[in-house]
């Protein structure tokens, strides 16, 4: 059993999304992008509904965003929705085709359609020929290989067509060609023959490729009343890819939408290599903007969506959502490595596996820590002197903005001074004298005073620091630890305590209080004491 009592790991593990993974789509920005694509499809469907399509019924959509931001996921998600939106869709990943010969591209386009699409189209096409045959068209009868013997044996044209549809009988290849050329253009005839015989010819050049694509679109609209969505992924500055896309855009495929997916870097390559294609892309009918797709809020929504979608038992309560939310926020803030959809999903996939292995009720700090150790073994908390484990870091960092942080840090600094005294780094400790938190003597007998000033309100910090500075006469050296960014002065040394240093101090304090500071920690603690000017 996985965390939150899920029966399966809700997160995908493949480095690139699969159609199955793409069934779930989370995130406000991704959902808005999805709506925009569907809007384009709907607009075109409405425009050409009830009439023949022509070359004006063509739309180009661009989707440009960084790697790992969910572009392919979105494209596959749209593909999964095809039956609901009067669309048939083919997904073509240009990075998987090499060399990008016309025949390879055509094969990839055909393979990109679902088999069900060809089954439906084949049925409709055979029914069309059947209708012609029933109306007395002899060439149609010949195409169906409906012979005199069939008639004598009592087999009707309808029954013959049904046998062909179910694969029990075959059309006459020779006669179907003769029939089709009467009613369809060269490419449409070839395509229909290919579909009915379940055998696709190859194409030799761009002209044939574009002819076949136009035929697919035209026949799909005519016989299935659907438009074709061509999703072309990994479009970049490759010359063959550019020529291919340029041809498609110039061909104005009827009843079609072309979704071009690229990265800003790929887009810039296209700009450099083919200004004419770049200009066409700049004038695309729809530019889908996944802006902010890697923002913290977007990632959180996506991550939570996977669990919500699989939470059949309702165990993923608001409280548990909030807890997971906080942990992910820390990961996002502190580790640039986890600021993309792909990387955060990967972490959560492994954390979920770990939760099953450790029989955890939820994804906790330990699961995340173990995951990071295994999947990102070299990852360390940036700037941590105490080598704080990531689990402790997440746990402490989450509380760093609490009101009690100031009090905890005062205790931590006091204990750090105690530790330095125990280690013989400083002289005797003196009685606390407000507003200073700690007073001690350095090895030369000078009196050192330390004050901790940590407030969310920086104006309050300035006020406190100003008051404390007046106590500089009480000591020979005054050190103020604060989260405000201030320079030191002649009389006062100001130490800026950032979140990383706060975590170090709080982690030290926890270990010191629990008597867990081992001899191997001494050096790290002394370094920490040096950074806050105690030693």
């Amino acid at each position: 059993m996985y965390a939150y009592q899920l029966e399966n790991n809700p997160y995908p593990s493949s480095p690139t999304p699969t159609e199955k993974d793409a069934r779930i789509l989370g995130g406000k920005r991704h959902k808005e992008a999805k709506s925009a694509i569907l809007e384009c499809i709907k607009e075109l469907c409405n425009k050409i509904g009830g009439r023949d399509s022509n070359d004006g019924d063509f739309r180009v959509i661009t989707l440009i965003q960084d790697v790992g931001s969910g572009k392919t996921h979105l494209a596959l998600h749209i593909k999964n929705l095809q039956s609901r939106h009067n669309t048939v869709c083919t997904f073509l990943d240009l990075s998987t085709i090499s060399p990008k010969a016309m025949s390879s591209l055509y094969n990839a386009i055909i393979k990109g359609f679902e088999n069900e699409f060809f089954v439906q189209l084949r049925t409709k096409l055979v029914e069309y020929i059947r209708d012609r045959a029933e109306q007395g068209d002899n060439s149609a009868k010949k195409a169906l290989d409906y012979s005199f013997v069939n008639k004598l044996s009592g087999l009707t044209i309808k029954q013959k067509a049904e046998e062909i549809i179910s694969g029990k009988a075959y059309v006459s290849v020779e006669n179907i060609k003769k029939f089709l050329v009467q009613w369809f253009n060269y490419y449409e005839s070839n395509l229909i023959k290919n579909i009915i015989t379940n055998s696709f010819d190859t194409v030799a050049n761009l002209e044939e490729l574009l002819g076949m694509m136009a035929a697919i679109s035209k026949l799909t609209h005519r016989f299935l009343s659907k438009i074709v969505l061509y999703e072309i992924d990994e479009f970049d500055g490759n010359q063959d890819s550019i020529e291919f896309v340029k041809g498609i855009i110039n061909a104005h495929l009827p009843a079609s939408v072309v979704l071009l997916i690229s990265t800003p870097s790929g887009y810039a390559e296209i700009q450099g290599k083919s200004p004419s294609v770049f200009d066409r892309l700049e004038k695309a009918n729809y530019k889908i903007d996944l802006v902010g797709s890697n923002s913290q809020e977007e990632l959180l929504e996506i991550v939570l969506e996977y669990i919500k979608h699989n939470d059949k038992k309702g165990k993923f309560t608001q409280k548990t959502q909030d807890e997971l939310d906080e942990k992910i926020r820390v990961l996002y803030d502190e580790f640039p490595e986890f600021r993309s959809v792909r990387s955060i999903i990967n972490i959560l996939y492994h954390a979920m596996e770990k939760s099953a292995e450790l029989d955890l009720e939820k994804i906790d700090e330990t699961a995340i820590d173990e995951t990071i150790k295994h999947t990102y073994p070299g990852l360390k908390v940036r700037g941590s002197i105490m080598a704080v484990p990531i689990s402790d870091f997440i746990s402490i960092r989450r509380t760093c903005e609490d009101e009690s942080t100031g009090t905890q840090l005062k205790k931590a600094v006091t204990n750090l001074v105690n530790f330095a005294h125990e280690m013989g780094n400083i002289g005797k400790l003196e009685k606390q004298n407000q507003p200073l938190d700690v007073i001690y003597q350095d090895p030369y007998g000078s009196k050192i005073g330390i004050a901790v000033v940590i407030n969310e309100n920086h104006a309050k910090n300035f006020e406190e620091i100003s008051n404390i500075s007046k106590s500089s006469a009480l000591v020979d050296k005054l050190v103020i630890l604060t989260n405000s960014n201030l320079p030191s002065s002649e009389s006062t040394i100001i130490i800026n305590v950032d979140k990383s240093k706060m975590v170090d101090l709080l982690y030290f304090n926890n270990r010191y209080v629990d008597h867990k500071i081992g001899s191997f920690d001494n050096e790290k603690v002394q370094t920490l004491a040096r950074t806050v000017n105690i030693i």
């Binding site: 800003p264 790929g266 903007d289 802006v291 902010g292 640039p336 990387s343 100003s466 002065s489 006062t492």
Partner: protein, 188 residues
């Protein structure tokens, strides 16, 4: 002669020297010399017991501050006031010191940010993305800063305003994140 008399008085320090002793050493003429020094406020004469003692000016102040209660009070008040004035001046200086670098840092950052935003708008395509290299060239030229400096400031700007900027991998130059060169940037 006058200098010799003064030297002798100074050498006596805080305890001072008996006027009779000076007369013994320098003769009867020393009365005139002493009078001149008194007029010039270089020495002070005071009766202590039955004898007259002579002090140099600074030693006399010290003598009074230790032995005369009235003088002690007045002097400590004066010193306190002087210290307060010093402190006021010192804090005023600290505040100035504090404010100047803060203002400088904030000013530099805001200046860089506005220049960066301007160049980003100029360089971006219809989808908003712009190569860092284009922005870098323009800003390095106008601000006379090195490319290293530019990328250091740009990386800090993007990290500080994660909610305002978006970067994308690729390109020949840019800021390095997750071990990848991110050569494109845009406003969110």
């Amino acid at each position: 002669m006058s200098e010799e008399v003064l030297e002798r008085i100074v050498s006596a320090g805080i305890n001072g020297i008996k006027k009779a002793e000076l007369k013994k050493t320098f003769g009867k003429n020393c009365d005139n010399i002493l009078q001149k020094l008194i007029d010039a406020e270089q020495i002070f004469v005071e009766k202590k017991g039955i004898a007259y003692f002579v002090w140099a000016r600074d030693d006399y102040v010290l003598y009074l501050s230790q032995n005369d209660p009235k003088c002690k009070i007045v002097l400590s008040m004066a010193i306190e006031q002087s210290r307060s004035a010093d402190k006021v001046n010192k804090y005023a200086n600290i505040e100035t010191i504090n404010k100047i670098p803060q203002q400088n840092v904030a000013g530099q950052e805001s200046d860089f940010k506005s220049e960066f935003d301007r160049r980003l708008t100029e360089s971006s395509t219809s989808i908003g993305w712009a190569p860092f290299s284009d922005i870098r060239k323009k800003i390095c030229d106008s601000k006379k800063i090195s490319p290293e400096n530019f990328y250091s400031m740009a990386a800090e700007l993007v990290e500080r305003h994660k909610e305002r900027y978006e970067v994308s991998s690729g390109g020949q130059e840019g800021i390095v994140m997750r071990g990848l060169v991110h050569g494109y940037v845009r406003n969110i």
